[in-house]
């Protein structure tokens, strides 16, 4: 079942990537990132199962914590951006420009 798990993981990850590429709503893009993270978590779990060790699961816990933190900060940013632009469309947001 490991190969299947990895297959699902890969497919979900790619769906996340495609989502990031085709969506312009910042919140949905965040969700896509969450999806990608979870897909990676699946790989961790599967490979932990393969090796018969729980270390992989520990990493999943870390990933989840970071994901939670990221979601919190990211959404806060989205909110403040929305206040400014009245939109969460990524095309309106190019603050990263040097």
């Amino acid at each position: 079942m490991i190969a299947e798990a990895l297959f699902f993981s890969a497919v979900l990850f790619i769906i996340g990537v495609v989502g990031v590429l085709i969506r312009r709503n910042a919140i949905i893009i965040f969700m896509c990132v969450e999806l990608m993270l979870t897909a990676v978590n699946l790989s961790f779990i599967a490979l932990a199962r393969l090796h018969g060790s729980a270390t992989g699961q520990v990493f999943v816990l870390f990933v989840m914590t970071v994901a939670a933190a990221e979601a919190a900060v990211g959404l806060a940013i989205v909110i403040s951006i929305f206040r400014h632009h009245k939109s969460v469309d990524l095309r309106n947001i190019n603050l990263l420009k040097g």
Binding site: L21, L90, R91, N94, G98
Partner: protein
């Protein structure tokens, strides 16, 4: 070093006045320092302690300007005039006295063939190069020292009167003293580099004195031109020194002369060295094609023209060739070149002299012409004859210049008195001055007869000596046997003799013309001015009288064997130890006593001189001359002559302008700013800026674009692994 000292100590001159030879240039140098200090001290006003804080409009500055503005036109003696006159003339006079003492010591020392070299301290000693500050006294330098200090002292005395009202009085004497000092270094230098110190030093003084009245641009330009043209010649002098050192490993004159034969007779090497040396002479002595600075140099005060641009500095080239006679006789080709250039210059300048109106310009071209004669003499290896003409020329040309200075002084005073702004130097404005300036008139006629070559005045003997030597060399000797540019040497020399005679004719004509227009005929100054015309003070006329006597009897210094009016060939014998060997080499077989041919030559020379004077007297009509402002423009060949064959314009258009505009437009704006700076330097900066710009375009700030970039990047990386 010790050995050398010992050698010096055994020299017959060692215990005589000659051991003070170093004082000869030092005395005028001291005069320069005193007068220079006086000049600066009298005009210096100390600046503010904080120049950038001091306002430009404070009261003291304005007062200064007022003071300066007034002192220019004021006719008042300089506050330090008295001390300047004493120091400025005493120093060269003391030098002259010392020179006479040394001369007497030399006479009593009898014949000595090695020069007395006094070495002071090292100058440039490194590796095999040994250059010391050393002075060399021998018969040749002694002659020059006497001429320089003697004529120099007279001209200093003349200047006291001539420059009396000039606001820069001490400055003038400072420069003049400095000149004498450098000129003495030039003739006394025991090695070529020390000579070169004097050589360039006199150039500096010439520059400063030509541009003495610097607030007129043309004067400053003339000084600049003189210096730069001289420098062109100096390149030759330098190259000659380098070649001598590279081949003989010494630059001491005695050592070079001794080693000269090792360079090989008529070898390309020795010819090149001689031609480079001659290039130096061409610059300094104003020969073709570098003569152009000398006429312009007349912008300086007239005593300067007399001392520097007639009697001494310009003859330095002749002296240099006589000094290097051992080198020159090794190369007949170079010798003939010297003679040819000298002769052509003499003729060329004489033709221009025919049609000049500025009295000093006539004398300037006359000087160039006479220098040509001297080169003709030293060119054919008649060194004593060349030096003889140098000495007599110093007398009569100094006299002519000082005489013209007197005239200009009188004219200027008259014009100043009436507020007239006409040209005080133009002969068309003069005329009939003999009534007002009888002494000057008489003395200048003596000089004119001397330069024209009328016996028994000095110029006759010296010029005849040169022409005779050319004729003799054409018959036999190394020059006659050599070929020059494919022509037989003797044919060239015969041609030179002919041209020399033609020049003599022209000389007589233009000098008579000068006298006629200046002193004869009706006076062309205005009525009011005429009342002010009078002889210059005695401090000025006195030196003229002395020079007049010398011009008249100077010929007795070196009487030819054909005219034994007294002791024959004094100068020949005196110079024998220095240039005798070289002269003998050039002459080949010595002539058999006095021949009838020589009498014929003398007769021809006299006839030509007289003919020239007669032609001028007959053809020229001073009465018909109009003042400068009414003069009609000239036509045809006369216009060509008046405009000096347009050589200055040619040089300007062909050399100066292309050089300057080429430097500005091609080198500076083209290469420097255009290619190097704009293209390479700023271009490379622009290139990196461009690359940065391209990179910054990817930095759009669009997160979506970044996501795409990451995705495609990931695709590429994975692909790289996949299709490894």
């Amino acid at each position: 070093m010790l050995q050398e000292l010992a050698a010096v100590d055994t020299h017959p001159l060692a215990e005589t006045a000659a051991r003070f030879v170093g004082l000869l240039p030092l005395l005028p140098l001291a005069g320069f320092l005193v007068n220079g200090a006086l000049s600066l001290a009298s005009s210096y006003k100390r600046g503010p302690a904080d120049p950038s804080a001091a306002g430009a409009h404070d009261g003291t500055a304005a007062e200064q300007v007022a003071a300066h503005g007034s002192d220019h036109d004021a006719v008042a003696r300089h506050p330090y005039a008295a001390i300047t006159s004493v120091v400025g003339t005493l120093m060269p006079a003391l030098s002259f006295a010392l020179a006479i003492a040394i001369f007497l010591a030399m006479v009593s020392a009898g014949d000595f063939s090695t020069p007395y070299v006094r070495s002071y301290f090292d100058w440039m000693v490194t590796g095999d190069l040994q250059i010391r500050w050393a002075f060399q006294l021998d018969q040749l330098s002694m002659v020059m020292v006497l001429v320089i200090t003697g004529v120099g002292t007279l001209i200093h005395i003349f200047s006291i009167g001539y420059m009396r009202d000039d606001p820069g009085y001490p400055r003038f004497f400072a420069y003049l003293n400095l000149f004498v000092a450098f000129m003495l270094v030039l003739v006394l230098g025991a090695s070529y580099p020390v000579m070169f110190v004097g050589w360039e030093g006199v150039g500096l003084c010439s520059y400063l004195l030509i541009g003495y009245w610097y607030n007129v641009k043309s004067n400053a330009d003339a000084g600049l031109k003189a210096f730069i043209v001289n420098r062109i010649g100096d390149v030759g002098f330098l190259m000659a020194m380098f070649m001598i050192f590279a081949n003989l490993h010494t630059l001491d004159i005695t050592a070079v002369n001794a080693a000269a034969p090792s360079l090989g007779f008529n070898s390309a090497l020795v010819t090149t060295i001689c031609l480079f040396l001659f290039m130096g002479c061409v610059g300094k002595s104003a020969q073709l094609p570098l003569y152009v600075w000398l006429p312009d140099a007349m912008a300086g005060p007239t005593p300067v023209s007399a001392l520097i641009h007639a009697a001494t500095m310009v003859t330095a080239g002749v002296y240099l060739i006589a000094r290097s006679s051992a080198l020159f006789v090794m190369s007949p080709a170079a010798c003939i070149t010297v003679a040819v250039v000298g002769t052509l210059t003499a003729l060329f300048a004489a033709t221009i002299g025919l049609k000049q109106w500025d009295i000093k310009k006539v004398l300037a071209y006359s000087t160039i012409s006479q220098l040509g004669y001297m080169f003709m003499g030293v060119g054919v290896g008649a060194y004593a004859a060349g030096m003889f003409h140098l000495i007599t020329h110093a007398f009569f040309k100094a006299l002519l210049f000082l005489g013209s200075g007197s005239v200009i002084f009188a004219m200027h005073r008259a014009y100043h008195h009436t507020g007239n702004h006409d040209d005080a130097q133009d002969m068309r404005n003069m005329g009939g001055l003999r009534k007002y300036m009888p002494w000057t008139f008489a003395l200048m006629w003596i000089a004119t007869l001397a330069i024209a070559g009328v016996p028994p005045f000095s110029g006759f003997f010296s010029k005849d000596g040169i022409l005779g030597a050319v004729f003799e060399r054409a018959q036999h000797g190394t020059l006659a046997e050599a070929t020059w540019l494919g022509m037989p040497g003797s044919a060239v020399l015969y041609a030179l003799y002919g041209l020399g005679l033609l020049t003599a004719l022209l000389t007589a004509i233009y000098m008579t013309r000068l006298m006629l227009y200046t002193f004869h005929g009706p006076n062309r100054t205005g009525e009011a001015e005429r009342a002010q015309l009078r002889e210059a003070p005695w401090s000025m006329t006195g030196p003229l009288v002395v020079l007049g006597v010398l011009s008249a009897v100077g010929g007795w210094l070196d009487l030819p064997a054909t005219l034994p009016l007294g002791p024959v060939g004094l100068l020949d014998k005196w110079l024998e130890p220095v240039v005798g060997a070289a002269t003998a080499t050039a002459a080949g077989v010595v002539g058999e006593g006095v021949t009838s041919t020589e009498y014929v030559l003398i007769a021809v020379a006299v006839a030509i001189a007289v003919l020239g004077i007669v032609i001028a007297l007959v053809r020229l009509r001073p009465a018909a001359l109009l003042p400068k402002r009414d003069a009609l423009p000239e036509h045809g060949i006369e216009k060509l002559l008046e405009n000096k064959y347009y050589i200055d314009e040619l040089y300007d258009d062909a050399i100066v302008t292309p050089l300057v505009s080429g430097s500005r437009n091609i080198l500076w704006k083209g290469i420097d700013r255009g290619i190097i700076d704009s293209f390479f330097v700023n271009g490379s900066a622009a290139l990196s800026r461009g690359v940065g710009w391209v990179g910054s375009q990817f930095q759009s700030g669009e997160t979506g674009a970044y996501a795409w970039a990451i995705a495609i990047g990931a695709l590429a990386v994975l692909g790289a692994f996949t299709f490894r």
